[in-house]
């Protein structure tokens, strides 16, 4: 049964994203929200970890836009969603693990 993980801190500030990715199983999903969306920027070390990660990676568009990160800056393989997509992701996975 799959889990939805959320990460809300920048990977350049805290180790939440790397710890999350190290504990996520294939079939899980990871959603970057709040300051966690900085982990979605292409061409960074964080993006390298994400590219090789098992789970599907999503990022909250509202939080990207708030921070002036345009869509073309988002790394390949990451899907941009909004809050309605967030709700859908929660229903699709058995439980939510917030990496606080």
């Amino acid at each position: 049964m799959s889990i939805l993980h959320t990460v809300n801190k920048s990977p350049f500030q805290k180790a939440d994203l790397s710890s999350c990715l190290a504990h996520a199983n294939a079939g899980d999903a990871v959603l970057l929200i709040e300051d966690g969306v900085y982990g979605a920027i292409a061409g960074t070390d964080a993006a390298k970890d994400i590219a090789t990660a098992d789970p599907s990676i999503y990022v909250l568009g509202g939080d990207l836009a708030a921070r002036g990160i345009a869509g073309d800056k988002v790394a390949d393989g990451i899907t941009v969603i909004e809050y309605d997509g967030f709700v859908d992701l929660v229903t699709e996975h058995k439980a939510v693990n917030s990496w606080l």
């Binding site: 709040e34 509202g62 809050y83 309605d84 606080l100």
Partner: protein, 130 residues
């Protein structure tokens, strides 16, 4: 589905309360039920009625109160966390011999057991925090 939402941080200092609010709104808009929004740790500070935030930005506490009114949500402030942080309703203030109470409309104070119950009764529990 039945969603339980947990808010672990107070208003403004962290984005948690905003994210929880937007998520709750989106879940309700999609026709889901939100069993309870449970405020823990500094999250209890979302329930004070004494905030006077700047007029040109969102009023977090009033937003929760309005959402509660519109959808009949159960907004619960954990009593243990609230006592630690000086959030008291009328009953608590009397019980504790305090000269004032400050819980905002639409919020109620209750025990930590309500958090566990939310986990048991909901199909999904989503936590917003630091």
């Amino acid at each position: 589905m039945k969603f339980g939402v947990v808010v672990n941080e107070g208003p403004y200092t962290h984005q948690a309360s905003d994210s929880a609010y937007q998520f709750t709104k989106a879940a309700l808009a999609k026709g889901h039920e939100v069993t309870r929004v449970f405020f823990y740790h500094d999250g209890v500070n979302n329930g004070t009625r004494l905030t006077v935030p700047p007029q040109d930005d969102r009023n977090i506490q009033q937003r929760w109160t309005a959402l509660q009114k519109e959808h009949g949500l159960d907004l619960v402030l954990c009593i243990a966390a609230a006592q630690r942080r000086g959030i008291l309703d009328e009953n608590e203030a009397k019980r504790q011999g305090k000269d004032a109470d400050n819980v905002a409309e639409g919020f109620r104070i209750s025990g930590l057991g309500q958090l566990i119950e939310t986990g048991i009764q909901s199909d999904r529990l989503v936590t917003f925090g630091d």
